[in-house]
């Protein structure tokens, strides 16, 4: 599988100013990330809040400019594109936001919102716009009769479906979902995840899922990248990362999910400030295995298809593999099964 999107040593820092506007330092939100997203794959980026995963998601779409590094998308050097060329490229890369109450323009009807990308990129002639919008709405489980309604008249799950229809409208190759279900009720989460999975399969989408919900990630991701303080500490196939985590931070993260079965020393202390991250390995201040070398040198991300950024990755005691049926994932699967069954005798979504 070739990579549709490749990042190389990408970084972005946000200056922090004091009350008088003098630069006091910088939050290094994304700090040297190299990542390759295989075409047609679902890649999850996981990590605690504040680790830079949302910033990374926006940097890879060039919604936030990177300070350095290279971003290659479908053969283009994304950072070198002129504004016009970048706008045309946006047809192939879309974003789904976390909060469906904020991501839709309150003064646009569903029809206007979904038709906007069609019009911007000349996807269909004007005469067919309405028809295409109805198709898209039906595809995401909305009734096309609701096309003239305004966002405030919908529930969170329905709004997220509108946002998904809007993201699909321009027939993109890549969609980045920034916590696309975490603002929704648990029952609705399962429905929307089912929908996303169906769409990914049907349209052969490449999907970058930014999430902190490991249950969801385990369920739909092909690959997982674990982020800590602006860096990727582990990246590999989902099953391998969940069964044999190679970075102490990944172990701790998995152990924090109840019922995962991974035994690890629980993390102590807070995440260090991204303004002044620790020297060497950024995780060393909270790592139970840290040695002298961890203070001196930043560990490179190495190990091929399942890579980890840890000096000690080959010397760590083996992690206890997680139980086959984890609590979070099990609950989700049950919900999904429930809604899948219901769908067979009731085609219209009831979100």
């Amino acid at each position: 599988m070739s990579a549709i999107l490749e990042l190389e040593d990408v970084a972005r820092a946000f200056p922090v100013r004091d009350a008088l506007g003098r630069a006091k330092g910088a939050v290094r939100a994304v700090d040297g990330v190299s990542l390759s997203v295989p075409e047609g794959a679902v890649l999850a980026i996981v990590g605690e809040s504040g680790c830079g995963k949302s910033t990374l998601g926006r940097v890879m779409l060039r919604l936030i400019e990177a300070d350095r590094g290279a971003i290659r998308f479908m053969g283009d050097d994304l950072r070198a594109l002129k504004p016009d060329a970048l706008r045309r490229r946006r047809r192939d890369m879309q974003l789904i936001f976390q909060d469906p109450f904020a991501s839709l323009d309150p003064r646009m009807t569903v029809e206007e919102a979904v038709a906007e990308p069609l019009r911007l990129h000349g996807i269909v002639p004007r005469a067919q716009e309405r028809e295409r919008v109805a198709e898209l709405m039906a595809r995401v489980g909305l009734r096309p009769e609701q096309a003239r309604r305004w966002p405030h008249e919908f529930s969170g799950g329905q709004r997220q479906r509108i946002a998904i229809a809007r993201a699909l409208a321009s027939q993109p190759r890549l969609i980045v979902g920034d916590e696309p279900v975490s603002a929704l009720d648990v029952s609705v989460q399962a429905q929307v995840i089912n929908l996303l999975q169906d769409l990914i399969r049907e349209f052969r989408l490449t999907f970058v899922l930014i999430s902190h919900d490991l249950g969801v990630v385990r369920h739909i991701a092909d690959r997982v990248a674990v982020m800590y303080l602006g860096r990727i500490v582990e990246e590999g196939p989902t099953a391998q990362v969940f069964h044999a985590p190679r970075h102490p931070y990944t172990r701790a993260l998995l152990a924090a999910v109840p019922g995962q079965g991974v035994k690890a020393v629980p993390l102590e202390g807070d995440v260090p400030s991204p303004i002044d991250p620790p020297s060497g390995c950024r995780f060393r201040t909270r790592c139970p295995f840290a040695e002298a070398i961890c203070t001196e040198q930043a560990p490179p991300l190495e190990g091929g298809s399942h890579a980890a950024a840890c000096h000690l990755q080959h010397r760590l005691p083996p992690a206890v593999p997680p139980a086959e049926h984890d609590a979070g994932g099990e609950r989700l699967r049950r919900l999904q099964a429930f809604f899948t069954d219901r769908k067979t005798n009731n085609t219209g979504a009831t979100t």
Partner: protein, 302 residues
């Protein structure tokens, strides 16, 4: 794309039936506005005031500038409801014609202020950097001078005439709209839906006009209504000082001006335009408050 065929197939089964019509944000605000009694009362007064101004030639009982030595400073009577002034002119007729000057000054100068202020504010808020800094400092500098003082200075500089007074008021009132539009644009810029507009591939100008502008209309409408009240007072003040409507054409401000010399002998000369200004300004303020309540984003989910 591979999905086209199947999307079409699914679309075919869902042929559009009766389209449901939603309630637009604007209509919802209107519905809320009409629940607000004082605001509706204000709206009635405002509409009445506008009708009086527009229909002045037909409803004024006398010529507003025709003088008569026979009826100087007569108190209110059956022929002259609000009395006559120091030149024997009918006060009611002058009041009705004077409404034109107030309406013009209020509406035209505020429209002017919006036309100057909003584009500048949008530009400042959306572009940021030195453009924002420069434009904002100019607006701040203008705001640091009291409203009337600046209007008086400008009107005096432009020369005494109603058009010049209107221009002076428009310029003086514009920094308020610069500030408001800039603030709202900054707020809108940080919302997800504006970022979404960018992510979809909107050029910056389209984002500004299609996504930002419609969403900042509500506060502009509220501020605009309140500014009309202020502009009416400003026009009256300028006319009072002889910088607005020029005699013999009537204006509520200049009527007050000439009335002050006869306050003890002919108080009706001051009472009529005074109450007219008071009522109209109050009405515009009530409408503005009603709009503010109806458009309040914190009450959006009702």
């Amino acid at each position: 794309m591979s999905g086209d065929a199947s999307a079409r197939r699914i679309g075919a089964t869902a042929a559009p039936v009766a389209v449901e019509r939603g309630e637009s944000p604007g209509r919802r605000a209107l519905r809320r506005f009409f629940r607000h009694r004082l605001a509706v009362f204000g709206l009635v007064v405002v509409v009445g005031f506008i009708l009086v101004a527009l229909l002045a030639p037909w409803i004024a009982p006398y010529d507003p500038i025709e003088t008569s030595w026979a009826r100087i400073r007569k108190p209110p009577s059956a022929e002259h409801w609000f009395g006559t002034d120091e030149n024997g002119r009918d006060v009611l007729s002058r009041l009705i014609w004077g409404a034109r000057a107030s309406l013009m000054a209020g509406v035209v100068s505020v429209l002017g202020a919006v036309a100057i202020g909003v584009p500048i504010g949008l530009l400042a808020g959306l572009s940021g950097g030195w453009v924002d800094a420069t434009l904002s400092r100019i607006a701040d500098a203008m705001l640091s001078v009291p409203f009337l003082i600046l209007a008086i200075a400008l009107a005096a500089f432009l020369g005494p005439a109603l058009e010049n007074a209107m221009l002076a008021i428009a310029i003086t009132a514009s920094p308020v709209f610069v500030r408001l539009a800039r603030g709202m644009a900054l707020e809108a810029k940080s919302t997800d839906w504006v970022e979404a507009a960018r992510a979809l591939g909107n050029p910056p100008w389209r984002t500004a006009l299609v996504h930002v502008l419609p969403n900042i209309v509500p506060p502009l409408l509220v501020q605009g209504t309140l500014a009309i009240a202020e502009a009416i007072i400003a026009e009256a003040s300028l006319s009072f000082l002889g910088l607005g409507q020029q005699p013999p054409a009537p204006s509520w401000g200049s009527m007050l001006n000439s009335a002050q010399r006869f306050l003890d002998q002919a108080p009706w000369l001051a009472v009529a335009p005074g109450i007219a200004i008071f009522v109209v300004v109050l009405a515009f303020n009530l409408v503005g408050d009603g709009l503010r309540d109806a458009l309040d984003p914190r009450a959006q989910r009702r």
